[in-house]
C-alpha cells in the first residue's frame, strides 16, 4: 500500500493550532478542547496530565486520527490530519500511529504472537514479532492467548503490537490505569525502553503526576486547554521513580 503522507524534514512531528473539539450542539454542547496549540518534536517522551474530563483522551484521539476536530488545524509532518479522508486516516493509523489503551483491546481469539503478526503483516517496515515480544520481555509467552495472560502481560503484548510496525508516534491512554503499581512499572519501563531504542515519539496520558519525571516534556490539561508544564533535561528511568 502507498501512503499519502509525505515525509517532511521538520523537527516537530505533530503540530496543532487552535485545535478544538465540541461534542453536541446548542445547550448540550460540550467543549472538550478549546483551542489547543501543540508542537511535539521527534523521538520525545511526552506525558499528559490533567483532571478527569479535561480533554486528554479527546486530544490523543485527534492526534491518532480516530476522530475529527471541529476547529483548528492538526498536522503530521506537514500533512493535514484534520482534513484527511477515511482512506488517508486509515493509512495514517496503519503506518504512523501505534495505540495502547487502558483496556488492552487484544483480539481474544489470537495468541500474543498472532496479535502482533496481525499488524506486522500489513505494515511497510515492521520488526519481527519475536523482536517486538523481546522488547516487552515476553518472548516466553508468545503462544498464549489473552485469557492466559495477566493484565500487565496483556498490556505489554498490546505495546508490542503497537510498536512492532516501528510507528513514529506511540499514543498511550492511561496504559497503567487498570494495573497495580508493580505491574504498571513493568509496562512503563517497556514504553520508555521503546522510546529510547527506537526513537518513537511517545505520548502517555496518566493521572500519576510522579510519572512527569520520566518524560522529556510534560503538558497539563484543564477544561479543554493545554499548557506546557515542564521540560526535563534529564528524564529519569521509571525504575528510579519514587512511588
Amino acid at each position: 500500500m502507498t501512503s499519502p503522507i509525505p515525509p517532511a524534514p521538520d523537527s516537530s512531528l505533530v503540530v496543532a493550532r487552535e485545535l478544538s473539539k465540541t461534542y453536541g450542539s446548542g445547550n448540550a454542547a460540550v467543549h472538550a478542547l478549546r483551542g489547543v496549540n501543540l508542537d511535539l518534536p521527534k523521538g520525545e517522551l511526552v506525558v499528559l496530565l490533567g483532571a478527569s474530563g479535561s480533554g486528554k483522551s479527546t486530544l490523543l484521539n485527534l492526534i491518532g486520527g480516530l476522530d475529527n476536530p471541529t476547529g483548528g488545524s492538526l498536522h503530521y509532518r506537514g500533512w493535514n490530519v484534520a482534513q484527511a479522508d477515511e482512506a488517508g486516516l486509515t493509512a495514517y493509523r496503519r503506518d504512523v500511529v501505534g495505540f495502547v489503551f487502558q483496556f488492552y483491546n487484544l483480539i481474544a481469539s489470537l495468541t500474543a504472537r498472532e496479535n502482533i503478526g496481525l499488524i506486522t503483516e500489513v505494515s511497510r517496515d515492521p520488526m519481527s514479532t519475536d523482536d517486538a515480544l523481546a522488547l516487552v520481555d515476553l518472548t516466553n509467552r508468545a503462544n498464549h492467548f489473552p485469557a492466559q495472560l495477566s493484565g500487565g502481560e496483556q498490556q505489554r503484548v498490546a505495546i508490542a503490537r503497537a510498536i512492532a510496525k516501528r510507528p513514529e508516534l506511540l499514543l498511550c491512554d492511561e496504559p497503567t490505569g487498570a494495573l497495580d503499581v508493580k505491574t504498571g512499572v513493568l509496562v512503563l519501563e517497556a514504553i520508555q525502553r521503546i522510546n529510547r531504542e527506537i526513537g518513537t515519539l511517545t505520548v502517555v496520558i496518566t493521572h500519576n503526576a510522579i510519572l512527569a519525571e520520566m518524560a522529556d516534556r510534560v503538558f497539563t490539561m484543564s477544561d479543554g486547554r493545554l499548557e506546557l508544564a515542564k521540560v526535563n533535561a534529564n528524564p529519569r528511568p521509571v525504575g528510579e521513580l519514587a512511588w
Binding site: R94, F103, A108, L110, V122, Q148
Partner: protein, 787 residues
Amino acid sequence: MELLDLKLLRDLKALKSQAFAVALVMACGLAMMIMTRSLIRSLDQARDGYYEKHRFAEVFAGLKRAPDSTREKLAAIPGVAAVETGVEVSVTLDLPDLLEPASGLINAVPDRRPTILNKLYLRRGNLLEGSSRLEVLVSEAFAEANALNPGDPIAAILNGRRLELRIAGIVLAPQYVFEARPGSALPDNKTFGIFWMREQELAEAFNLEGAFNTLALSLAPGASEPEVIAEVDRILEPYGGLGAYGRSEHPSNIRVDDEIRVLDGLSFGFPLVFLSVAAFMTHSVMSRQIALQREQIAILKAFGFANRTIAWHYIKFALLIVIVGTSLGTLGGFIFGLKLVDMYHLFFRFPRLEFVPATGAIIGALIASSAAALIGVAGAVLKVVKLSPAEAMRPEPPASFRPAIAERLGFSKWLTVSLRMALRNVERKPWQAIFTTVALAMATGILIIPNAFRDGVRHILDFQWDVVQRQTVTVSLVEPGPMRAAHDFSQLPGVVLAEPFRTVPIEMVSGQRSRRLALHGIVKDADLNRVMGQDNLPLQLEQSGLIISEALGDSLEVRPGDLVTINVLQGKRRSITIPIGGFSQDFAGIASFMELHALNRLLGEGDRITGAFISVAGGQWEAFLRELKETPQASGVVIKNAMRQSFRKTTAESIGLIQVIYSSFATIVAFGIVYNSARIALSERARELATLRVLGFSQGDVGSILVGELVVLAAIALPLGLWIGSGMASLLIQSINTETVRLPLVLSASNYAYATLVITLATAISALIACRKLNQLDLVGALKATE
C-alpha cells in the same frame, strides 16, 4: 419502575430493526396460521349452515329405475328419517356461443309435493312457478361460465329430442357445492352443468313416469349409516342399484372436506417452522442484548432490584415483539384470508361464503408466539438470574480460546489470520455457529416448499396433460355401443386417431373396505390415454391385469399382488376376484384400468364400448366440433384443454395464490433470519473490529472479516437448507395431498436456484447493511465500552 420501562423503550429503539425482523418472521407464521384457520372456519360454517338449512341428505344412491312404490320400503328402513326420490338424467346442450357440445345432468323438481331433502337455493329468477312448461333452472357455476341469465333460451337434447327451453332461475343445491362431471375430480363449468326441470316433464321425456332413478336419505339420530346403506342396496338391487354411499363418498362433499383438510395441513406445519425460527431469533437477539447489558444488570441487582423484576424486564422486551408480531400477523391473516375467500367463490358454490375470523386461532397465535418468544428468551433470562452482582461488576475477562482443530492438525500455515479468528470463534462457541447455520438453513429450506407446490402444479399441467393424456378430446356415447362406433368417430373431420374405451361403474372390495368408482377398459398399446406407472413410463395392460390408482390402493389398503373383488354395478352385475397388477401414477381422483377385451369378457355383453379417446389435427378442430355436435350418439365430451384450463383456474389458482403468499412470506423470513444473523455477528465483533480499525485496518479489511464469517456460514447452510427444504416440501405435500388432488413432489433446478438466489441476495444485502453500520461505528466509543 417507570425508568426501567424507559430503558426498555430505548433498548427497543436501538434494536428496532432486529426486533422488527423477529416480529416479521413471527407475523408471517401467524398470518399463515390465522389465514388458514379462518378459511377453515369460513368453509365449515358456510357448509354446515347450508347443509342444515337446505337439508343435505346423508345417504345417496343411483339406480336404473324403480317404481315410486319402492319409496315406502325405503322409508321403512330402521334409521331412515326422510326419503327423497328423484329423476336425474344426462342431457346434451346446444349453446349458440359455445363451439363444443356441452352436457349436463337434469334433476327433477317434484310438482305435487315439496322437496324434502337437498333443497334448492334460488339465486336469481324464480323456482319454476305457475304452470309454464319448458322451463329450467340452471346451476350458478354453469350459468356464470356461460353468461346465462333468467329468461335466456337454451336448447337441450333430451333422450334424442331437441327441446327449446327457457331459463327460469339460477340456483344452488347442497349436493352440488362443487360441480363436476361424475367421476371427475376437476370441474369443467363451461361444458358441464346441472339443471332442474319439472318432474312431470322430465319423466315424460324419459319414460320414467311413476318411477325414480336417484335416491337421497336422511338418517334419524343414532342410526347406523352402514346398516342403512346395506339395506338400501338390498332393496335397490333388483332395480339396477349402483350402490348407496354416505357423505364421505359424496363427490361434492369430499371436495369441500378435502379442501378443509388441505388447509388443515397448511395451518400447522409451515407456521410451526416459522414460529420455531422466531423463537430462535428471539433467543439470539435477547442473549446478545443481555450479554451487552451484563454490567447494567449487575448494577440493578446491586441496587436491590429483584431477579424477578429484572427477568420480567427482559420478558417484557420479548412480549413487545410478540404484540407487534401478532398484530401484524392477524392483519396479514385477514387480508390474505379475504383474498382466498374471494377465490373460493369460484369453485365452491355456497349461498354465502363469508370470511369468518378464527378468533380461537388468534388467541392460539398469541399463545404460540408468546410461547415461542418465552422459550427463546428463557435461556437468556436464566443467565441474568444466575449472574451475581459482584461478578458482573468486573469487566468480563477475555474469552478463552485455543487453536482450531485445523491448526492442531498442522494446517496452520495455510490459514490466514482472519480465517483463524473465524475458525477459533466457531470452535469456542460451536452451538452458536450451529444455531446460526441451522437458522440460515431453515431460511433456505422454507423457500423450497412453496415453489415445490408451484412445480407440482406445473408438472400436472404439462406432464399429465401432454405426456400422459395425448387425446384432444374424450367422447362418450349415450349408451354402450358396438366397437364400430369408434370407427365412426374416426371418420369425423380432422381425426388422426380414435381409441375406444369402455367404462363401467363398479364397487371394489377388499375385506371390510370398499369403494365405488369407474373401471376403464382401454386398448392394449394405447397411444392416446395411457396409464402411467410409478416410474412415469406407460404401463402395459396385460390381458387380465388390473391397474389401480395408488390412492385407491391406499384407501383399500392393498398393494400390487393383493386380491380385490370387483362387483360390476351394471348389466349382468357380475363379480370377480382378481389380483392387482400394479399402481398407476395419477394426480386426481381414483381410477382403475383393465385391458378393453378383458373387461368386456368380464362383463359378458360382447365387444362393446362407451366412448373413445380421439386426437384431432389442429387445423380441423372447429370442423370436428361442428360435426360432433350433430352426432346424436355422442353425449359427454371432455376436451383436454378445457380440463387443463379448469384445473388452472381452480386447483392451480388456489395453490398458486397460496404459493405466492407463502413464497413471499418465506422470502421475508429468509431475509429476516440472514439479516438478524449479520446483526448479531456485528454486535459480537464490534469491539474487536473497532480495535482493528484503530490499528490501521481499512473499512474493507474489517468488513471482509465480518462478511467472511457470514459467507462461510451461509455457504455451509445453503446445501443443508436445500436438503432440509426438500424434506419439508415432501412432508408438507404428503400432508396436504388428498384423494381429489395429489401433487407430485417435483424439486426443480429453478426452485433450488431461487432459494440460492434469495439467500445469496439476503446475505449480500445484510452484509452491506452490517458493513455500513460497521463504518458508522464510533471508534472511540467502541473502545470505551468494555462489553
